[in-house]
Structures are given as structure tokens and as C-alpha cells.
């Protein structure tokens, strides 16, 4: 077993530009995966990929050569349809060869359509919404019980919080004062059938969640300075779990996918669309 000391912030001083370039590679991989599979969920993968990039390249104590080290930080992708985001970032981080991404959603591949635990670096299978957050609560509770200092991060979707089980988990996280748990809400404002405000309006999420006893902070989910500040805020809060609301754009980085419910669960519709997505991502440049 690798000494827990080795699970340090491997690249904790990565520049924003460096993070941007990793996210750019991940975006390309996401498009390639859903294009090759001719199915999958690009919209919610592109909205959360900047946060994932920050977590895996600047924050999480994880070791690709020892993915089950007991001292590792835990990450749970509760919105399991964003599997292209998690699979791509794990491969970039070295958990498995990028080669495997080509077989996403195909028979004989471990890269199941929704997040699958058989893949190195993945803590739990997810796909049915409203469950991963409860699993994360169990992990954080176990860390407290065992007096371990690893942290648990979980990403939930803004459509996902329509599940009552999410609010049950808020109650439990609050009751057990899980300050080692950081819940990140990907507020991309779109779910499968359309805009969340139309499908099931949930205005003023911040005060609602705060009333459940959580710390709440909103930030721009595509700005690395804001992501860094938000994560640091959550880590330093004591006695309460934290919900970080990542204000994001669904489909971020591909013009025709941005804010378009169609691309919640559809790949590029044509070779032209695929080429355009790759071109736009490739041409994007880091701006201060």
C-alpha cells in the first residue's frame, strides 16, 4: 500500500491556464465519446467538467497507481449520466488508458453508459438520481466514525434535486454535522424535458438548502479562481456540511449545445455538428 503521505495535492499549484487546457482536452474527449457511442449525455458533462478538472488536478488526494488506498478522498458523481465527464477526467489523471474511452457504451467495455464502479477510480455506480448523495453521506459518516481525515465530494444535478431522497440526505448530513462532506450542485438549469424552471420550479435553492442546516455558497462553475475559493471555503467550514452551487452553462464550450435541452442526452447530430464541436473546443483560449 502506498503511504498516505503520497496522496498529496499532486499539482496543487497548477495555474488556471493549465487547468483550462486540461478541461479543454476533457471536453474534446467528451465529444469524441458520445460521437463514437452515438449516444450519451454531453450537456451535463460539459457543464461540470471545469469543476471536475479542478477537483482531480488540484484538490483530491487520490493516487491513480493505488486507487483504493483507504486514506484517499472520495468523489461521487451522483448525476451518473455525466459519465463522459468523469471517465474522461479519470483517464487524463492516469487511472486508465485513454484508449478505453473509445469503447464507451459499447459491448465488452467496462465504461457503462452510466457511472460504473468496475472502472478504476470510481467509488460507486450511479445512474438513478438521488442516490449518490446518500452514498456520499455514508462515506463521510464512516470517515467520522473511523476518525479518518479524508474528505468526500459529491456532484448532484439541479434536475436531480427534484428527488425527495436528496432532501433526506441533506437532513442526514446536517444531523451528523458532516463538515467533511462537500456537495456540489451543478446548476445548469436544464433537465431532459426542458428547463428546470418549467419542469419543476425550485426558486431560491440557496435559502431552502440553508434552512436544512447546510452552509451554502454560489460560485461561477467555469471560473477557476471562483472554483478554488468555493472549495477552500467548504474545506474550512466546521460543524456543518457545505453545498456549493456551481452556476454553470449546460453544454458549455460548444455553441449549439449551450443552453439547449436537446443536448442533455444527445450526441452531435451530424458529422458537421461533430466537426464544429471539435473545432470550437480546439480554438478556445484561456482568458483572464
Amino acid at each position: 500500500m502506498v503511504d498516505p503521505q503520497h496522496l498529496q495535492h499532486v499539482e496543487s499549484d497548477r495555474s488556471n491556464e493549465s487547468l483550462f487546457n486540461i478541461a479543454k482536452q476533457a471536453r474534446t474527449l467528451i465529444i469524441d465519446m458520445v460521437w463514437s457511442a452515438k449516444s450519451g449525455h454531453p450537456g451535463g458533462s460539459l457543464s461540470i467538467i471545469d469543476v471536475l478538472t479542478y477537483l482531480y488536478f488540484n484538490e483530491l488526494h487520490v493516487d491513480p497507481s493505488d486507487p483504493e488506498n483507504p486514506s484517499r478522498d472520495r468523489f461521487v458523481m451522483s448525476k451518473g449520466h455525466a459519465s463522459p465527464a468523469l471517465y474522461s477526467i479519470l483517464s487524463l489523471r492516469g487511472f486508465f488508458p485513454q484508449e478505453l474511452l473509445k469503447d464507451f457504451r459499447k459491448i465488452n467495455s467496462k465504461l457503462e453508459g452510466h457511472v460504473h464502479r468496475g472502472v478504476p477510480g470510481i467509488e460507486t455506480s450511479t445512474g438513478s438520481l438521488g442516490q449518490g448523495i446518500g452514498i456520499a453521506v455514508g462515506m463521510a459518516l464512516t470517515a467520522k466514525l473511523d476518525k479518518k481525515d479524508y474528505r468526500v465530494f459529491v456532484v448532484i444535478g439541479d434536475g436531480e434535486i427534484e428527488e425527495g431522497s436528496v432532501w433526506e440526505s441533506f437532513m442526514a448530513a446536517s444531523k451528523y454535522a458532516l463538515d467533511n462532506l462537500t456537495i456540489i450542485l451543478d446548476l445548469n438549469k436544464i433537465q431532459l424535458d426542458g428547463f428546470t424552471k418549467d419542469v419543476m420550479p425550485l426558486p431560491d435553492i440557496e435559502s431552502r438548502v440553508r434552512s436544512f442546516g447546510l452552509n451554502v455558497r454560489k460560485f461561477n462553475g467555469h471560473n477557476f479562481d471562483e472554483i478554488r475559493n468555493a472549495i477552500e471555503f467548504a474545506k474550512h467550514e466546521k460543524g456543518k456540511p457545505t453545498l456549493l452551487i456551481a452556476d454553470t452553462v449546460k453544454g458549455k464550450g460548444v455553441s449549439y449545445m449551450e443552453n439547449n435541452p436537446k443536448y442533455h442526452g444527445s450526441p452531435p447530430a451530424s458529422q458537421e455538428e461533430y466537426d464544429l464541436a471539435i473545432k470550437e473546443i480546439g480554438a478556445s483560449k484561456y482568458e483572464n
Partner: protein
């Protein structure tokens, strides 16, 4: 005959095993005084988690704890666990992790609380899940042995179905549960009653009455519904040629269905099923309801006689 409560045996055994097995954690949903997990909770408060009336969160949290190396026991009333079918399916069974569901107040022995609390579909629901194993103990001794087995020998999902009522103690004190193996409670040559849970005692009584009618009846306890003892069922199908099943559960998707599947595939034998027939339960005293729903001792006897009558009918046709 000694009468004991299987759920009390569960609570006691779990608390006893908690001493030597520090990895055990227990979760309940505001019913710990009824499920008896409070015995563990009082002894090991730091490892007991009352999740409130939030079963979905309870099951997902248990999954997270099992994924972090714990052996999680989850208890509530059987009927309320069913609302978390999908959590059980995806977070526990698909991950194939060490979560044990030990539920109480299953079946019609719940009694006065009535139909809303009397689930008779759960064995079918749970048996359909890949990676899930399903056990229906017949008394307090078998319950304790099952719990010990789960703690000491297993690391995958199990569903153990207990009742509210006290049951007659049928097994010897040194009884040891063996997964996937039937327990022959009484041998016989003419007819076999496959049964489990509360119906084992009823079946033994029915076998005595059938003996008086010159039908030598074997009684076989199928506490391990999944995995099921295929050989044990076929052996008795061959030996006796006539089968009755008796369960405190719907005849659909429970013991009766499983036995019929096994015999239909390997050695078809004429049979009758005793159990709930596509209906909800109702209020009443637990044991009174068995007669009301035609699941009492005399109904098992009638089912046994019917097997032979039906056989004669088939013979006259052929």
C-alpha cells in the same frame, strides 16, 4: 412448547456480535424499538444511526458505509423497505456490497395494524434482484444462526424476513443455518410440504393430521429461498411424488412459485400452493388471519388431500 420472538433474537444476537465485530454498523428508520435494533443502539450508540423516517436516505447511506469497509445492517418494517427498491437495486445490489436488510413485521402476522402494514409481496420483489439472497427463518433459533452466519461468513447483500409475532421454537439449540440447504423437519413418503417462516409450525401440525388420514407427510423448511436448494426439492419430489407449499406470503413469486419453477424444469410433480391469493391483508389478530385467508392448519391439510384428488382426476383422463 417454547414461544420466542425472532425479532428479539435478532436484536440480542446483533448486539452480542457487535462486541467482537467492530465493523458492524446498524441503521434504522425510527422503528428501532420494534425491530429491536435498539438493543445494539444502546450498547454501541456510536455505531447506531437512526436515520429518521427516511428509508431512501437510510439505504443509500448504508451503501456508502459498506463501500467504506463497514458491514451495514439495515432494519425497518418489511413494507417500508420496499419503497427503497431502487436504492437496494442500484446502490446495494449492483455494487454487490455488504449490506444486510433484516426486516420485521412482514406478512399478515402483523395483525391489527392491517393491510397497509402487511406486506405479502416482498420475497418476490427481493428475490428478483441480482446478487440479493433471501432468507425466511422459521423460529428464533434459526434467526440467531442466520445473523451469525451473515456476520461471520458473508460480504454481499441479504434480505432476512422476520415477523412481529412470537413463534414456537422448532429447531434444536445447536441448529446451524446452511445457505441453500433445506431442513427436513419431519420425513415422509407420500407427500412433501415445503414451507418456511410461520408456516413451518403449521405444516408440522398439518402433517400430523394427514398421518391420521394415512398420508405419510414430509415437512421441509425452505428458509433459504434464494439460493434455493434445487437438489433438496427434487429429491423430495421424487421420493413423495406430491407437493404442497405453504408460506405467509403471496403464492405468486414466493416459495410456491420457486418450488414450481424447480420441479417444472427438472421433475414435474402435482402440487398445491397455500398462501395469500392476490389479495391484501386486513386487521385482526395475527393468528386469526391465517384461517381467514385460508392459510391455517386445516387449509394445509385440505391442500394435501386436494393433491391426491387432482391426481386421480388426471389418471382417469389419461
Amino acid at each position: 412448547m417454547r414461544i420466542e420472538s425472532p425479532r428479539e433474537s435478532y436484536g440480542k444476537k446483533l448486539a452480542e456480535l457487535g462486541e467482537s465485530h467492530k465493523d458492524i454498523v446498524v441503521l434504522d428508520a425510527d422503528l428501532s424499538s420494534s425491530t429491536k435494533t435498539q438493543v445494539f443502539g444502546k450498547k454501541f450508540p456510536e455505531r447506531f444511526f437512526n436515520m429518521g423516517i427516511s428509508e431512501q436516505s437510510m439505504v443509500a447511506t448504508a451503501a456508502g458505509m459498506a463501500l467504506s469497509g463497514k458491514k451495514a445492517f439495515v432494519s425497518t418494517f418489511a413494507v417500508f423497505l420496499m419503497r427503497t427498491y431502487e436504492q437496494i437495486r442500484q446502490s446495494v445490489c449492483y455494487n454487490n456490497i455488504d449490506v444486510k436488510f433484516v426486516v420485521t413485521h412482514a406478512g399478515i402476522t402483523v395483525g391489527e395494524d392491517g393491510a397497509t402494514h402487511q406486506i405479502v409481496e416482498d420475497v418476490g420483489i427481493m428475490s428478483g434482484l441480482p446478487n440479493m439472497k433471501v432468507i425466511v427463518p422459521s423460529d428464533s433459533i434459526e434467526t440467531e444462526s442466520v445473523i451469525q452466519y451473515l456476520v461471520e461468513k458473508t460480504k454481499t447483500p441479504y434480505y432476512v424476513r422476520l415477523s412481529r409475532e412470537k413463534f414456537p421454537v422448532l429447531n434444536d439449540d445447536d441448529y446451524q443455518f446452511r445457505e441453500g440447504q433445506n431442513v427436513v423437519m419431519k420425513d415422509g413418503t407420500d407427500l412433501t410440504i415445503f414451507c418456511n417462516g410461520a408456516m413451518v409450525d403449521f405444516s408440522l401440525k398439518a402433517a400430523e393430521k394427514l398421518k391420521e388420514l394415512a398420508i405419510d407427510t414430509a415437512v421441509v423448511n425452505v428458509s433459504s429461498i434464494k439460493p434455493i436448494d434445487r437438489k433438496g426439492i427434487i429429491d423430495y419430489a421424487r421420493k413423495t411424488g406430491h407437493i404442497v407449499t405453504a408460506e405467509e406470503h403471496s403464492i405468486y413469486n414466493g416459495l410456491g412459485s420457486r418450488v414450481a419453477e424447480v420441479t417444472a424444469e427438472e421433475y414435474p410433480v402435482i402440487m398445491q400452493r397455500v398462501g395469500m391469493r392476490d389479495s391484501f391483508g386486513k386487521s385482526g389478530k395475527g393468528w386469526e388471519l391465517f384461517d381467514y385467508f385460508h392459510m391455517g392448519v386445516s387449509d394445509i391439510v385440505d391442500a394435501g388431500l386436494k393433491v391426491f384428488r387432482e391426481e386421480k382426476k388426471y389418471e382417469s383422463i389419461s
